[in-house]
Symmetry: C2
Subunit: 412 residues, 2 copies
């Protein structure tokens, strides 16, 4: 089973979410992705969540299917190994992803001097190279102040590192677009982006910049309501909470029909003087609509509601904790062809997701475990850099490279 | 100024966030992206936010730089126009992105019969084709139950449509990977993904599946704390709230140093019996650390804190509303080379973001406005399908296609 990018080789010098996720996406598409880390592990070697033994479930999650090289980049011999690997020949090689501070030996001009058509994708915090992470970018752009219960003054930050995940996708976009350009022109290049710019662009794309400047509106918190149309959470008689959506006409009509609320909604429209077929009017009247619908939900258990909603094709879901989702949702189990139960060294057997894309011309590639740190050091040095076993042994003895290390649980 | 994908042509049949965002990313990379919609506008033609005149700022934000074809797909002549456009010849054409229900004339087998090497990327709600949107996928996977104030039982949904944005990036990944495959093999294919699968995969990648199954832990709400290490929000003397991050050793040491808290932290370590150099111990002791640091913040205004933090290279930010961010952050203004002030028809002049990637071998492409619905109908029919002015006139008169319509503010 070869992925859609089989034959491509990418070197990754990274930590945390965005660039590791980008490299893993490429690996799950079939590319040979080599991540290099210092022998004591990168900045994210112990990132939470961790097992009771201190093995990072995060690291295992973000590095599946890659090869791992452990090399001391503080030493000239280590720098030479990484440089030679990034700039190794081959029409489908010569590609480097990084969010490390690429200065000096690892910056684009230095690497380009070794391989003229190098493609390098560099992700920074801000466009000026200042430090920034998802946890700081998000507050600076306004989302936490617009999240949470209506009327509350406390900002609520998201738990999903959304900007990192979005930036990771953009890193893949940049690499594939740049490689397409190289295939056509023979020219490599540096593609630069920042986490802050990725998020700032989205603020414009979503219309929020226009909402502020054209409308003079600073969006307030609105709880779990769907912005600009109708969508709300309701408590059922059994204590389960559900989300129902009436964003499109079809969804709204379906919801009103299943709730047998046609007359009541018409009466509400007359009372408010609003045509609720218009999505903006549903938003304006959302509290009245919710007041109208809530008793229906409050008197019915999930066992009654779910078949009704599914039969009508409504767009809805149940609120679950992570634990409930993981333990009960078939989409998170090997019932889903995207997921396979595999053994992750140091962790055990878990259901593990592969690529969420199915390509009709190719078999689905089953997910592979993440490597142990330095698991592939010897084979990379031998096969890709042509080093002999004597040379490799000397580099190991000197601590320039290392093979198959389990990262220490605690920081040095 | 030609983008990195100049020469590529992609047809998009879409609504809402993920696929429009994917098409726009391709357009901002220089591809000719043609979005088709029914003459009354697609499902998202009036999506909020809207101007006071009812023009969708959302639609304008998600469709920048595309060409717009207005065509009635309910009629056979309209279906033939869309099919001919999707399957038009050309080595860099024959690519179709959609999140519409692609059944019958618009499904992959039907289109493939017209162009054997077609590339089609189809995004659905769930892998079974059930309806699902960001607002329903997110509750079903657990994030709202882990978001918000510690101890609170109320779920808090995110405001950013994060899963849609992530899925949009994955749609671009799929298209570029499939086109690379076609360049090498001559074979097109259908790439299928679902919003739910994109999100479900991330639950595994982030280690949350392992946290539940390997650790038996169902993560609880922890307010705005950075999970698994140290990061917290603090109120300053001036009333401004800041986020500070001590995720890496370097960040943590820098923070302790700027706060002149080395002795106090050492005393805390002795009292708790924890080495706070280990990130997991910082997480365990986060409340004690926050208690230790809070008085420092509470007695200093931003004007004093900001230069100290910046000089020390700390990773931190200010909490702002959308309005404060848009009005005060240079990264959201034309000071940022990613952003230009342009005129959006029906809206006015706004600072508008282009692609957040800079390619060193190419000039930055300035952002283009979104089209008016059907703005390019005539030129597309003439230039790409070779229709004469008489034919186009008859199609217009018959209402099969339309040119340059401003969508009605209200639903029909």
């Amino acid at each position: 089973m070869a992925g859609v990018l089989a034959g491509m080789r990418v070197v990754e010098g990274s930590a945390f979410v965005a660039v590791p996720l980008a490299g893993m996406t490429l690996a799950q598409m079939g590319a040979d992705v080599i991540r290099f880390d210092r022998p004591q592990g990168g900045l994210d070697a112990r990132r939470w969540p961790v097992t009771k033994d201190g093995v990072s479930l995060f690291w295992a999650g973000m590095n599946k299917g890659k090869r791992s090289l452990a090399v001391d980049m503080a030493r000239p011999e280590g720098q030479e190994i990484v440089t030679a690997l990034i700039c190794a020949p081959g029409p489908e090689a010569g590609m480097f992803l990084t969010n490390l501070r690429a200065r000096g030996w690892m910056d684009y001009p230095a690497l380009k001097a070794r391989r003229e058509d190098l493609i390098m994708v560099s992700l920074t915090g801000t466009r000026r190279g200042e430090p920034a992470v998802d946890y700081t970018v998000n507050p600076s752009l306004g989302f936490p102040m617009a999240t949470g219960a209506e009327g509350s003054a406390e900002p609520v930050a998201h738990v999903l590192p959304a900007w990192d995940c979005i930036a990771g996708g953009m890193v893949v976009n940049a690499l594939l677009a740049a490689e397409r350009h190289r295939l056509r022109t023979g020219r490599g290049q540096l593609a630069e982006l920042s986490l802050k710019d990725v998020a700032a662009a989205m603020l414009g794309h979503l219309g929020i910049v226009g909402e502020v400047l054209a409308n003079g509106v600073d969006r307030a918190k609105a709880g779990n309501a769907l912005y600009g149309a109708y969508g709300q959470d309701f408590l059922l008689a059994c204590g389960t909470r559900v989300m129902v959506v009436g964003l499109t006409d079809r969804q709204w009509r379906g919801l009103v029909q299943v709730l047998e609320a046609k007359e009541a909604v018409a009466a509400l429209e007359r009372r408010l003087g609003l045509d609720l077929r218009a999505e903006g009017n549903r938003w304006a009247a959302r509290k009245e609509i919710t007041g109208l619908f809530a008793p229906w939900f409050a008197t019915r258990p999930l066992a009654e509601v779910a078949p009704l909603f599914d039969a009508a094709g409504l767009t809805w879901s149940v609120f679950r904790s992570f634990g409930e989702a993981v333990r009960t949702d078939p989409d998170l189990s090997p019932d889903n062809p995207m997921i396979a139960a595999i053994h992750q060294p140091g962790v055990g057997v878990l259901p593990v997701p592969g690529l969420p894309i199915g390509f009709s011309d190719l078999e689905r590639v089953a997910p592979a475990p993440a490597p142990v740190l330095g698991q592939h050091t010897e084979e990379i040095l031998a096969d890709l850099l042509g080093l002999g076993s004597g040379q490799i042994g000397r580099l190991m003895d000197a601590g320039v490279v290392a093979q198959g290390i389990r990262p220490a649980v605690r920081a040095a």
